[in-house]
Symmetry: C2
Subunit: 302 residues, 2 copies
């Protein structure tokens, strides 16, 4: 079976990761982290979120962060914008890509943002239109594609439906996320194929969580399906809000180790990511959540 | 691609796991752990090692442990026996299966046991013959099949050569182990196929380490090759002696979560293993090394 020869890794640690960490991280440290990641060679870094600091205090420094980072030519810096106020701030900060989101689970949508999936997509319509009007890239993040903490199972039809809605809003990329990490490898093909029927495979990304240790197996299964964009988080930043003490985002170092072993080009320097992981883990005061990161750091120190 | 419908999980935590933990565990706690694992439904538990306590102090209580456990009908209790003295002790303790071992790396063999691969196999010959004469099962463990901490790469020819030697000693099962956890999924097929050419696939097992987070992806790739026996360690017991702070054996809970998701029968009760993992982790005074174990334990407590 031929796997892709090249993939794109989207580094989400500075936003999706740090947003879900309990320890507050200063703008200065975030800026240093993003610069380290840019230098490591990522072509896409999720850097900020322009949401109300009342709801997400970890992202209150987004304006300062976007103003402080060095923009590496060729790297796309992404930010979440849940509404027009957020979009205006994101435009002012000159982000390259606007991220909007929707769940594949009605129960999750209701619990998380107090409205139906269809309503949530409609609320994003002006954001999406303004983003495109300003020449920004637009990414749609589809959460709970493999299961929901409230309703349990999520059908492939529900995934396809939200992919279609995000596509119709003009998304350049759509991210299929296993928000609670419940997927096993056999579920990857049917879910991804339901998305591929609605959207070009080369602009679909996979975002796995390692809550049950399944992320790398799921990524391998996604490579077999032909997916070429993967989201991951340096040092496995970000926990799982649905199981205390459990792991969240798959760690970038583990993903890069896999790709390197498979001979798949990423353009990212694994050792530089290990260093970035050590840097942010020391500021969080805890060991890295990346197994490859911990092993490679131990080797560097020995 | 059709995966196997049923696999055997060999639980190695009480021996391979605890032997590589720094914290000393009493015979009483080991006995309780093995009994919990038997009750969970494992048909094979690696329980003891009859080696000199001078070299492996963690295994000094092996006689006491084998005498103290409840023997579950249908469960095979295995023990390492590196020489005739060890074999006599293992026979006296009435173990069901004798484990002998050899490396696929000359450098590792020399560093680890001070002799060549060929010499090490010859030293096991009387042990193997006596084990068979006494009607015991015989398992050969083949370490460094995917890479060596000293020589680096290990060829598939070297793996095939040691498989052949272990087969000729009369091994009923042969275990292909990634002792330092360096394998990625693309290496699984060539290594396993080199073993399959020498030995029946249904009696070959795969033993992966999660040092770089790759174990589950490698197990998934092994299922695709058709391997039906997997070694794993409750709570991921056992570290990696080659990288301080790094992970060792793949965690049984993560493997069971994968098999359950894939609809592959194991006969083992995952929740009971999560409980066994909590029990031994509390005695080690550290969090579980199993991601599924940690997540499921958090759910049980919430």
């Amino acid at each position: 079976m031929a796997l892709p020869s090249k993939v794109k890794i989207v580094e989400v640690g500075p936003r999706d990761g740090l947003q879900n960490e309990k320890t507050a991280i200063s703008a200065e440290v975030k800026i240093a982290l993003i610069d380290l990641l840019s230098d490591a060679g990522f072509v896409n870094v999720e850097a900020a979120s322009f949401v109300s600091p009342k709801w997400v205090p970890q992202m209150a420094s987004s304006v300062e962060v976007m103003a402080g980072i060095r923009r590496r030519p060729g790297t796309i810096y992404s930010a979440l914008a849940p509404n027009m106020q957020g979009l205006e701030a994101a435009l002012a900060a000159n982000v390259d890509e606007i991220v909007i989101f929707g769940a594949a689970s009605e129960a999750f949508s209701q619990k998380n943002i107090n409205c139906s999936i269809a309503e949530s997509i409609e609320r994003f319509r002006p954001v999406a239109e303004a983003a495109k009007r300003h020449g920004k890239l637009l990414r749609g993040a589809l959460s709970c594609a493999f299961g929901c903490p409230y309703q349990g199972e999520v059908s492939t039809e529900a995934v396809a439906d939200v992919v279609r809605r995000l596509r119709d809003l003009g998304c350049d990329e759509i991210d299929i996320a296993d928000t609670i990490g419940v997927a096993t490898a056999n579920r990857v093909r049917p879910v991804m194929e339901s998305a591929i029927r609605e959207f070009p495979i080369e602009r679909l990304s996979a975002h796995f969580h390692d809550t049950y240790g399944q992320a790398l197996a799921n990524i391998y299964a996604s490579l077999e399906v032909g997916i070429t964009i993967y989201h991951s988080s340096v040092a496995g930043l970000g926990g799982c809000p649905y199981a205390k003490g459990a792991t969240g985002n798959v760690a970038t170092e583990d993903v890069l180790y896999l790709m390197q072993g498979l001979g798949i080009e990423t353009g990212v320097d694994l050792n530089a990511v290990v260093e970035a992981g050590r840097f942010i883990s020391s500021h969080l005061g805890r060991p890295s959540n990346s197994r490859a990161g911990a092993a490679l750091a131990a080797k560097l120190l020995s």
